[in-house]
Amino acid sequence: MKYYLRTAGTLIIITVCVVLMLSVINLFTSDLIEEHEPDSVASASVEVTENDD
Amino acid sequence: MNNDLIFSPSPHIKTPNNSRVLMIDVLVALTPALIWGVIVFGPRALTVVTVSILSCVIFETLFRLILKRPQTILDFSAVVTGLLLAFNLPASVPLWIPIVGAFFAIVIVKQLFGGIGKNIMNPALAARVFLYSWSKHMTAFPEPSFLNGEHMPAFAISINNIDATASATPLTVIKQGAIPSDTSIFDMLIGNCAGTIGEISAVLLILGGLFLLARKVITWHIPVTFIGTVAVLAFLKNISGSSIDFMLYEILGGGLMLGAFFMATDYATSPVTKTGRLIYGAGCGLLTVLFRFYGGYAESVSFAILIMNLLVWYIDRFTKPVRFGGKN
């Protein structure tokens, strides 16, 4: 039992740490990425509404 | 210090045949086509041939010298590669093209793999395909001008207004969907049409091929199956007019005769077993027809032979004869 705790546990801890690190980086960079590469569906609807004015 | 005593295990067979004799036979067989090429395209064809052969010999000598290996130019294989490479070029190519092609054929395809007998594909054909990078030069074919007409300057490094005087080979016309109207079958047989230096005269190439067959340099299996497959498939795929005519246009046009007798039969890159040779010849023919009709280039014997070269190892393994008493 201790064996499974050690192996699976370590793997889960590592994964959780990596995900935490990536979420932190995402906080800083997601706005900048949106600016440079907007998702095409979202921007298409934005363009349509702007033309209505 | 050269030993006159040769130490080797039995059987001991003495024959005058060695690489040099075979290569000289090939050179003799190609000479009528060479003379015809010079007659039709003028002295510049001879310049291109000379540049090609010289470059091949020089590159092979230099390579063996720099890497401190024994010299092999005396077996004349570099000369044959040079001649075959030149035969695959239009007479109007700039003179640096055969030099670059010779470097690719001799250094990269032949010597880097181990020298004569160890190349995985035909060096002259691989170089020709490599030279398609400069497709502008490789697909501009000069008009046949014979001894009376205007000739290209023999020693010019490159011909400037080749686009204005270029003419279409019969195969290019067929690729565009028509039957070549101003080139008759007789013209293509004797070689009164546009093309590369060595491929135009079908009858002279067939003569050379028969000479090689008589001298037992090549066997009938590869040329017969190669040309036969193309003939049968062309007969069936006739685009307009008489089927027999179309079939003859296809087998007399392009590099088929040159390829079937001289390029596909290279010892290092063709199968050893007789059945293997039949499969190889048929495969070459099938691929030639496929690429001619559905591929991008009008001429595709080179691609077909190169692809079959890569399959030779499998063909040999597949057609290995069973030992007497051995398992199937």
């Binding site: 064996y3 050690r6 192996t7 699976a8 370590t10 793997l11 590592i14 994964t15 990596v18 995900v19 690190m21 990536l22 980086i25 995402n26 800083f28 960079t29 900048l32 990425i33 440079h36 590469e37 | 210090m1 401190k68 290996r69 024994p70 990269i108 880097l112 490599f130 990078s133 400069w134």
Partner: protein, 245 residues
Amino acid sequence: MMIKQLKEGVLDNNPLLIQLLGICPALAMTTNVSNALGIGIATMVVLLLSNLFISLLRKLIPNEIRIAAYIVIIAGFVSAVEMLIKAYLPELGRSLGIFLPLIVVNCIILGRAETFASKNKVLPSLMDGFAMGFGFTFALIVVASIREIIGAGTWFGVNVLGESYQSVLFFIMPSGAFITLGCLVALMKKLTSFPKKVPKNSIESLESESVTAEKVEEPVEIPAEEEVIVEEIKEEVEVAEKNDN
């Protein structure tokens, strides 16, 4: 020790040209020097970070899950690098395209983690990451220079062969990539091996050239592997003893 590691990374044990790892980006991303530099530096950064953390955690990760753990760590760093590049260097991110996330499966990173970082202390592992990354980038730049100069007449975007140079399309296409890389690997093998002087008259002078060349390289590799095998046996004995308890 560090200088030796650097020399090994660039010459004797170059990850691309001698170990033949990471050939995929070497073929696809070397059409020009700026792409090659980009991928090389990105790979080196990931190598440094992954070597650092795998070396730090090497005593904590159980042997049975080590590959899975390494891959999670490497993938994490690659995703981080990708997000940072896309945010702060968008043009580079666009030209690197799909090959930036593909650094995860670049065999160099997993290979060095398995062979070196998991068995050595932090500082040598960092140096190894730097040496291997530098060697990889160096090799990429050489391939890209050849392909860009001959294929397009430019180097790093600057025209070097004159306006009238006809570009040779062959070298920009994949076929040119394979042939350039092949010739470079052959050249590298020749330069980093030290064949014995064989007398010219002997019959085997041609064969022995290649045989002696290979012989010289082997002795360098064996001690490290023996150590590895001994260590692995030790670890398995430890695990077996723990399971018995």
